[in-house]
């Protein structure tokens, strides 16, 4: 092992312990926030339900288990739907789809938004100008109607729902990352990095991204909330994939069965409560993370 290699290893190790310590600090602060802990518990419970769905659900989601539109009973806790499938099982399996689409779509939203924000903020000039004009446009346009129009052009299906949510939802991340990048760009350590001849890519990846990350993370929780609600809305309006029904899709079928005008409350209430709880869980987490990571809020 040469001296340089040894030194590189040491730096790496330092970095590891630094991140560990930062994470530890974060967790210590986070634990103190009651809302944050409640949110975490809610979200983790849904993750467990999603993972363990085959063991929890009494029936397969597509199995015709009983008569159509039966009231809740001990066999069917939430009754049955219009073709006799167990609604309880469908809601449990729906957790998987709703959670997964929410996570993937928000990850893509954050990814696209961060990339655009980094490029825009770092390069500046006409690139920044052009990109920010497009951002302004997408911020101003009504999200749901735009998503509906795009979905109707692209067609049904989970992949298309994810694409539509991503294309419509990246703007707030992009703006935030851009302003953060612009202020970081002026700091001495970035200048130092440039002075020793680092490439732009290296400077962005090594020095800007790690500093932007905490805010992106806090923002990401709200992106998940938006993605889950958007998915529910699009699926409710009939853009979901019937072979993997989400909670929104269950509500779509509930509407098709005329549940509101016939009083099938057991068909409407459970999926809606699930959406609400999951969204609240992520909103609580977002609130607590924001309190810790956003320096402006910390002093109040």
């Amino acid at each position: 092992m040469t001296v340089q290699e040894f030194h590189a290893l040491e730096v790496k190790e330092d970095r590891f312990w630094l991140y560990r310590r930062k994470l530890g600090d974060f967790w210590r602060l986070y634990r103190r926030s009651r809302l944050g802990v409640i949110g975490l518990i809610i979200v983790l419970s849904f993750v467990i339900v999603a993972v363990a769905a085959p063991w929890i659900a009494p029936f397969e989601p597509f199995y015709f288990a009983g008569d159509p539109l039966m009231k809740p009973s001990s066999t069917f806790p939430f009754g049955t739907d219009q073709v006799g499938r167990d609604i309880f099982s469908r809601v449990i399996y729906g957790t998987r789809v709703s959670l997964l689409i929410g996570l993937i779509a928000s990850a893509m939203t954050i990814g696209l938004g961060s990339a655009i924000g980094l490029v825009s903020g770092y390069l500046g000039g006409w690139v920044d100008n052009g990109l920010m004009r497009i951002t302004d446009l997408f911020i101003i346009l009504p999200a749901l109607p735009l998503m509906l129009i795009m979905a109707s052009i692209l067609g049904k299906g989970i992949m298309n729902i994810i694409i539509v949510i991503t294309v419509v939802g990246w703007t707030s991340t992009a703006r935030m990352v851009r302003s953060q990048t612009m202020s970081l760009k002026e700091r001495p350590f970035i200048e130092a990095s440039r002075a020793i001849g680092s490439t732009d890519l290296h400077t962005i990846a090594r020095h800007i991204v790690p500093n932007v990350f905490p805010l992106v993370f806090a923002n990401g929780m709200i992106a998940i909330v938006d993605a889950i609600l958007s998915e529910a809305g699009l699926s409710f309006l009939g853009f979901g994939d019937p072979s993997s029904p989400s909670w929104g899709m269950v509500l779509h079928y509930a509407d098709a069965a005329g549940s509101t005008v016939n009083g099938y409350w057991w068909y409407i209430v459970p999926p809606g409560i699930c959406i609400m709880l999951l969204v609240m869980g992520f909103a609580f987490i977002s609130y607590s993370t924001d309190q810790i990571l956003n320096p402006r809020l910390r002093r109040r």
Partner: protein, 325 residues
């Protein structure tokens, strides 16, 4: 002087955004897989004669840039094409009429009421920070924020329409009813509006409330609040004269942003309640693959939200002199 420069800057920016919206609107409906003419005329519900006329009018047999120029020309003369589902009725006639009016009535009334309630309750809650009332109001706001709007609408229909039979389940007016006078018509209309109105108001009030509460809490940390207290002003005066007024500033720009969200909420609410408006029209057009209608609505909506944002910028500049300098 400075004010004029600011207004010109905002106006230019609004026009650029509108230009981009028009470009997006053109290309969005031409990136579809398959035949590009399909979205404008290619539908079995359109007769061959009408189709030929449309192909000529929109230059669909021409290169893309010619189509774009023709599209702009048609836009300038108010020609948004013809609808598929209504068998060739001009899009303009379908959008600008009863539906737009119904949507404006519903959106306008619910946004105003939500705003007023949000501002008042938000101010009080901020004053009584961390009291039982504060906590329950914040939890309530979070709940309404976390509910999908369409589900809230469904619950309201279920509870008040089905179980209590207090509100009509769908529609804008009672179908088949003849009215002896104008007043009777208005009463029936308002009766049908209760459901969607309550749904939209509830879905927005929580957000306004939280923002107003936050805004007031921010103002409380300002030095002039201490001055007001030192002057010996009453709590009421401090709260409503000084805190609320200054906290209202961020709300102004929020209203414009909310117009954008309102279209989304209205689409869901109108669909659930079968309200005869633009939101429901979007849903119907999506289901019926009526692309000209969608393109037309997209254009009209863009103009509305851009205008709303411009108005907010102007209002903000009048209210807050710091912006101008």
């Amino acid at each position: 002087m400075v004010m004029r420069d600011y207004l010109i800057k905002r106006a230019v920016s609004a026009l650029v955004t509108l230009g981009l919206a028009i470009v997006l609107n053109f290309f969005l409906f031409r990136i579809m897989p398959g035949d590009p003419t399909r979205t404008v005329t290619g539908d079995f519900r359109i007769t061959p004669e009408v189709r030929r006329a449309l192909v000529h009018q929109f230059g669909l047999d021409q290169p893309l840039w010619v189509q774009f120029v023709l599209y702009l020309q048609n836009l300038a003369t108010g020609n948004l094409g013809v609808s598929f589902q209504y068998r060739g009725t001009p899009v303009v006639a379908i959008i600008f009429g009863r539906r737009l009016l119904n949507t404006f009535v519903l959106m306008g009334s619910s946004i105003s009421v939500a705003l007023i309630i949000g501002i008042i309750i938000g101010t009080i809650v901020a004053w009584k920070r961390e009291s039982k009332f504060d906590v329950s109001v914040v939890v309530f706001s979070l709940m309404t924020y976390s509910m999908p709007v369409f589900w809230l609408g469904m619950m309201i229909i279920l509870i008040f329409g089905y179980y209590l039979a207090a509100i009509p389940i769908a529609g804008t007016i009672t179908v088949g009813l003849t009215y002896s006078n104008w007043f009777q018509y208005a009463a029936d209309y308002l009766y049908h509006m209760i459901g969607p109105f309550v749904t939209l108001t509830l879905s927005f009030v929580g957000f306004y409330l939280i923002i107003m509460r936050d805004s007031i809490l921010d103002v409380f940390t300002e030095d002039y609040m201490l001055t007001a207290k030192a002057k010996g002003l009453s709590d009421r005066k401090i709260l409503f004269r000084h805190a609320m007024r200054n906290a209202l500033l961020p709300m102004v720009s929020l209203i414009a942003v909310e117009v954008t969200y309102l279209f989304g909420g209205a689409t869901m609410t109108e669909t659930v309640f079968s309200w005869y408006g633009i939101g429901r029209l979007i849903y119907e057009a999506v289901v019926m693959a009526d692309y000209p209608i969608l393109q037309g609505i997209f254009f009209v909506m863009s103009i509305l939200v851009i205008a709303a944002n411009f108005c907010a910028d102007v209002a903000y500049a009048f209210l807050d002199p710091r912006i101008r300098y």
